[in-house]
């Protein structure tokens, strides 16, 4: 019995830092006559200041769905994102070139493939294009679609560098 009690208290020790609060507090209602009003008020303040990220969440879900048609997801982009500044500029130039040619965009959306041959130009080696294929498709789709205003903010630098 003694050992069981010792084990129990040890198990419960990790919750010692937690404070129990009524679930209503999370909906923004603090009880003024409650003894832990100060705690509840703090929780209400914190939850109220949490930004509403549902918009960007929807955009991300929609973008992910779109990328699925090409056979990749946001997670796969981590592997093929340009790491160095030089490569990032090359990719930006290729994306800008692609976006300025609607025919290539149509071709890309139809075949679900990046028109590598058309994008090949001096200063952008084919190897770089092949390596960052998925990334360029994702960047072009995000920048071309009007449904992703929040994500476009993150791709803004690519757009700017491509124009230079």
């Amino acid at each position: 019995m003694r050992s069981r009690l010792t084990d129990y208290f040890r198990r419960q020790a990790k919750f010692s830092a937690e404070l129990s609060i009524s679930p209503e507090v999370f909906s923004g209602e603090a009880e003024e006559d409650s003894p832990d009003f100060g705690l509840q008020a703090a929780v209400v303040r914190r939850t109220a200041s949490t930004p509403d990220n549902s918009a960007i969440k929807d955009e991300i879900e929609a973008a992910n769905k779109l990328f699925c048609e090409y056979g990749f997801s946001f997670y796969d982009l981590a592997a093929c994102s340009p790491k160095s500044e030089k490569t990032r500029k090359m990719c930006a130039r290729a994306v800008a070139f692609l976006m300025d040619r609607p025919l290539l965009i149509t071709e890309m959306r139809r075949t679900k493939q990046l028109p590598l041959k058309a994008l090949e130009q001096p200063g952008i080696p084919r190897k770089t294009l092949e390596r960052h294929r998925k990334y360029m498709i994702a960047a072009a789709e995000i920048l071309l679609h009007d449904d992703f205003p929040c994500l476009k903010e993150y791709m803004h630098s690519i757009r700017e560098e491509g124009r230079q």
């Binding site: 960007i56 991300i60 992910n64 946001f74 997670y75 990334y135 993150y154 803004h156």
Partner: protein
């Protein structure tokens, strides 16, 4: 840099950064759409500092590794046999006592911090210690055998030259001492070490073994443990006659008389080699040590003539040079020049220490010290030229 979490997979979260790239970050209970603050990476200064530190560490570790890597070998045999391992900078990194007698000398050398000394400094220190221990009291009974080996034969020869020069400087061109410098390969030195002997001693015992006519198996280890003086005597006893050697080994002693003497070494400028008692060493008669006159070797006392050698030097049988033709510095079988042709090109490195076995190089049109003579004659194509042993005097 601002980033937004775009996908979660287990313990990793993909985040879209503000520069448009996607990175994986550890998932700390993130949600999709959550904004993060990700560091933009190390600053250029920090990165340069890290690379600099890494490069410095690499250089230091490589340098330390290089310094501690054995590259050359040197051994000194008087009767104590001492082997030195040298690095590529010719600095001593290890000293080994190759017989019981040498352990005390090695202990003394280690006490005097012989490690990290240059090869010639280490040799000088060793010879000094041997002299202090009265190993050179009886000069005729005390041959000095220096051996060098390196990863390249060229380096081994250079090292042999330097060591020979050091011995000569130390002994003051000791006329009463038999000094032999040989060079070889590191493989040979390693084999000698495996057998528990120095390279020089191994050469000597190999020589005796090859000349031994006994039908019984050669007691190598027994011979290897014999005193150096005894080995030299035995080797001399077994040496073939000078006439037969000359006839059988014309390449080993090409007649320099047929070669023109280079103008850069005029005869008049060459100091004569006249062996005499070693400066710094007490003479046999108890006389005070004498310094040789400048530019001349000390005169060998006339009271100690050398008997004819049963196994003389191949050079001794070479035809004498004709008038007007270059005179080879023929030796008397004791490694020293003889007669009117005894003039040694002293400015040739290591010529004296090589027992006067230097040759005229026809291709280079210059005199050059031949690779250190050994206890046997050399053969064409062999990596280490072998010469008749210049430790001649039958005692």
């Amino acid at each position: 840099m601002k980033a937004v979490v775009v996908e979660l997979r287990g313990s990793k979260a993909a985040a879209l950064k503000q520069d448009g790239t996607v990175v994986l970050v550890p998932n700390k209970n993130y949600e999709v759409g959550q904004e993060l603050s990700i560091s933009a990476g190390k600053s250029t200064v920090k990165r340069a500092a890290v690379w600099g530190a890494a490069a410095a560490a690499l250089v230091i570790s490589l340098g330390a590794g290089l310094y501690q890597t054995p590259y050359s070998y040197m051994s000194v045999d008087v009767n104590p046999s001492i082997a030195f391992s040298l690095n590529c900078f010719d600095r001593v990194i290890h000293v080994n006592a190759m017989n019981g007698e040498s352990q005390r000398i090695v202990d003394g050398l280690l006490e005097k911090n012989v490690t990290n000394l240059s090869a010639d400094q280490a040799l000088s220190l060793t010879l000094n210690m041997l002299a202090q221990d009265r190993y050179f009291e009886n000069a005729d009974e005390t041959p000095i055998l220096i051996a060098s080996a390196s990863q390249s034969s060229e380096k081994a020869n250079i090292l042999a030259d330097e060591l020979a020069q050091t011995v000569r400087t130390f002994a003051g061109d000791a006329g009463g001492y038999d000094v032999e410098v040989v060079s070889g390969s590191l493989d040979e030195a390693a084999k000698a070490s495996d057998q528990g002997v120095t390279l020089g001693r191994k050469r000597l015992v190999d020589e005796i073994e090859s000349r031994s006519s006994s039908a019984e198996p050669f007691p190598y280890q027994e011979w290897a443990e014999k005193p150096l003086g005894q080995l030299v005597k035995e080797n001399r006893k077994l040496s073939p006659t000078p006439a037969s050697r000359t006839a059988s080994q014309p390449e080993a002693a090409p007649s320099p008389a047929a070669q023109p003497r280079p103008q850069s070494h005029p005869q008049s400028q060459q100091p004569q080699y006249r062996p005499g008692p070693a400066a710094g060493f007490p003479s046999k008669e108890g006389q005070a040590p004498s310094r040789p006159a400048q530019g001349r070797m000390p005169q060998k006392p006339a009271a100690t003539p050398r008997p004819a050698q049963p196994g003389g030097n191949a050079h001794a049988q070479a035809p004498a040079g004709q008038a007007g033709l270059p005179q080879p510095p023929f030796t008397q079988g004791n490694g020293r020049p003889k007669g009117a042709a005894n003039e040694m090109p002293a400015n040739l490195p290591g010529a004296a220490s090589r027992g006067g076995t230097y040759q005229f190089n026809q291709e280079r049109n210059s005199w050059a010290a031949k690779a250190p003579s050994s206890f046997a004659s050399s053969g064409a194509g062999k990596p280490i030229p072998r010469q008749p042993h210049p430790l001649p005097k039958g005692r």
